[in-house]
Amino acid sequence: MSTHNPGDPGDPGDRLKPVAAVPDGMALQVDGVHKSFGKLEVLRGIDLEVREHEVVCLIGASGSGKSTLLRCVNLLEPIDAGRIVVGGEEITARGTDLDRVRRKIGIVFQSYNLFPHMTVLRNVTLAPRKALRLPRAEARARAEALLDRFGLADKRDEYPDRLSGGQQQRVAIVRALAMEPELLLLDEVTSALDPELVSEVLDVIRELAAGDMTMVIATHEMGFARDSASRVCFLDEGTILEEGPPARIFSAPREPRTQQFLQRIVDAGRL
C-alpha cells in the first residue's frame, strides 16, 4: 500500500492472518450518518461497525438507502452529518484527500461500469498504474494474476462489450481488487445479471470472503446473505432497523418491518 496511514492496524499482509491475530481490528465505523438529495432524506442516522474480515450484508427494499450508504462510504457522495472512519482514519474529516481514501476502499457497481474503450487488461491496470504509480510490468503482473485466479485469463485482450454480464462483473471485481483495497463495497452486483449468470459472480464473492476480505455487500440475494454473511443489516427508510447474525435475522426477525420484508421475499419464492 503506497499510502501512509497512522493508526491503521494493518498493512495488506495482515489480511491473510486469522481474525484473532488482529485485535481491535475495526475496518469501518459509520456514526450517525445523514444524507439528503434535495428534500428527500435517504439516510436518517446510520450507525454501523464492521470489523476486519467481516462480511456484512445490507438488505432491504429498493430506496431503503443501501446503495447511498455504500456511495457515501466511498466518498462518491458527500454526507450531510455524522462521520465515517475507515481503518482508524476519519475519512469524512475536512481536508481529507479523497483520492487517497478511495484507493483503499474498492467499490463494485450494479451496472459494472467498465471502461468500454479499454481492453480488460487495461481496465484492470489503469488505476494501479495511474493512481498507485506502479510500474507497467508490475501492474500487469498483478492484473494477470487476478484475472487468472478468477478464470478470466483468456479474456485479457477483449473489450468489455464482448463479454457476458457475469464476465463483465467479474472483471469489475478484479479491477477493484487490483488496488488491493482494505475494504470492498459491493453494490447489488448481481441485480443486473441474467439469472443463470448470478452464481459465477457469487462464487467470486464467496472466494473473497474465504480469503478474509472485509466486505460490505448491498444485495437482494437472500440465500447468499444467509449462507455467507457474518452479519446482516436490515435497512428501512434510511436507518438500520435491525441487525444480527444471518441465522437469527432470517429465522427470527424481531421487527415487524423486517418480518414483512422477508415474508415478501419468501412469497416471491426468492428464499
Binding site: 476502499i105 488505476a127 495511474k130 493512481a131 473489450y159
Partner: protein, 266 residues
C-alpha cells in the same frame, strides 16, 4: 433473380430516369446555351485550372494550420468549462462569454475586423500579414464551435463512468484524460468532421482581405475572361478535399465500432 440484384437494378433504373429528367429540363431551358457558354466552357476550365489549383494550396495550408490549433484549443476550452466547483467560476464564465461571442459574430466580420484592424494599430510586434490574421480569425471562430462539440461529447459520457474512475482513486484530471475524453472524442468524430468541412470552406473568406487564395483567384480569372467557369474549377477543388475527408471519417467510426462490439451478437 435474387432480391438484392433486383433492388440494385431498381435503384439504378430510377437514378438514370431521375437524372435524365433533370438533364432534359435544364438543357431545354431557354437560357441553356448562354449558361453553357459562361459557366461550362471546357477551354477556360482547362486554362484556369492550374492557376486556381496553385491558389488553392493556400486554402489547404490555412486549413491545416488552423485545424492543428483548433483541435487542442477547443478541447482545452471544453475541459475548462467542465471544471467543477466555485473556485473555477471566473474561468467557466470567461469560456462561456468567449464561445457566445465568437459563435454569434459572422466569420466574415471577424476576418474583416482583425485582418484590417490589427495591422492598422501599427504596433511593431503585431504581424501585418493578412494570412496570419485570417488564420487567427478562423481559429477564434471555429474553436468556439468545436469546443461546443467536445462539450456535448463530454456530457454524453455517463456519470457512472466518472464514478467508477474516481472510486478507483483516479484524480479528476486523470479521469478526464483516460476515461471521459477518449470516449467523448470517439462519439463526436462525425460532428467534428462537419466543422472540419465548414472550416475548409470558410478559408475562402480570407480572400476578402485581398489574399489570393482559390476564391480570390477565381474572381480575378472571372473578371479577366468575363466567364464564370473558374467557379466550377474552385468548386471541384474544394469537393476533392471534403468528400474523401467525409468517407475517411465514416471508415474511422465504423472501424472503432467494429473493434468494440464485434462478437457481441454471437
Amino acid at each position: 433473380m435474387s432480391k438484392e440484384t433486383r433492388a440494385v437494378g431498381i435503384a439504378l433504373l430510377s437514378t438514370v430516369v431521375f437524372l435524365a429528367v433533370i438533364a432534359t429540363v435544364i438543357t431545354r431551358s431557354p437560357g441553356w446555351d448562354t449558361f453553357k457558354e459562361f459557366f461550362l466552357d471546357p477551354t477556360i476550365y482547362r486554362d484556369s485550372f492550374a492557376e486556381i489549383a496553385t491558389a488553392f494550396k493556400l486554402n489547404v495550408r490555412i486549413f491545416l494550420i488552423a485545424e492543428a490549433i483548433i483541435l487542442p484549443a477547443a478541447l482545452l476550452l471544453a475541459v475548462l468549462r467542465s471544471l467543477p466547483g466555485p473556485v473555477f467560476f471566473p474561468i467557466r464564465a470567461l469560456a462561456v462569454v468567449y464561445a457566445d461571442l465568437f459563435r454569434g459574430i459572422p466569420t466574415i466580420l471577424v476576418i474583416g475586423m482583425l485582418g484590417f484592424g490589427m495591422p492598422s494599430l501599427e504596433i511593431a510586434w503585431i504581424p501585418k500579414s493578412f494570412v496570419f490574421w485570417g488564420i487567427v480569425s478562423l481559429v477564434l471562430v471555429y474553436t468556439a464551435y468545436v469546443s461546443e462539440v467536445y462539450r456535448a461529447g463530454i456530457d454524453s459520457v455517463h456519470s457512472s463512468q466518472e464514478a467508477a474512475a474516481r472510486s478507483l482513486g483516479l484524480k479528476h484530471t486523470q479521469t478526464l484524460r483516460y476515461v471521459v475524453i477518449p470516449q467523448a472524442v470517439r462519439r463526436v468524430i462525425p460532428p467534428l468532421l462537419n466543422d472540419f468541412i465548414g472550416l475548409q470552406k470558410d478559408t475562402a473568406l480570407v480572400g476578402t482581405l485581398g489574399v489570393v487564395e482559390a476564391f480570390k483567384q477565381t474572381q480575378i480569372d472571372t473578371s479577366a475572361t468575363f466567364n464564370f467557369t473558374p467557379y466550377l474549377v474552385a468548386a471541384t477543388l474544394f469537393v476533392a478535399i471534403t468528400i474523401p475527408l467525409a468517407r475517411f471519417t465514416d471508415w474511422l467510426v465504423a472501424r472503432d465500432r467494429k473493434r468494440q462490439q464485434a462478437g457481441r451478437l454471437t
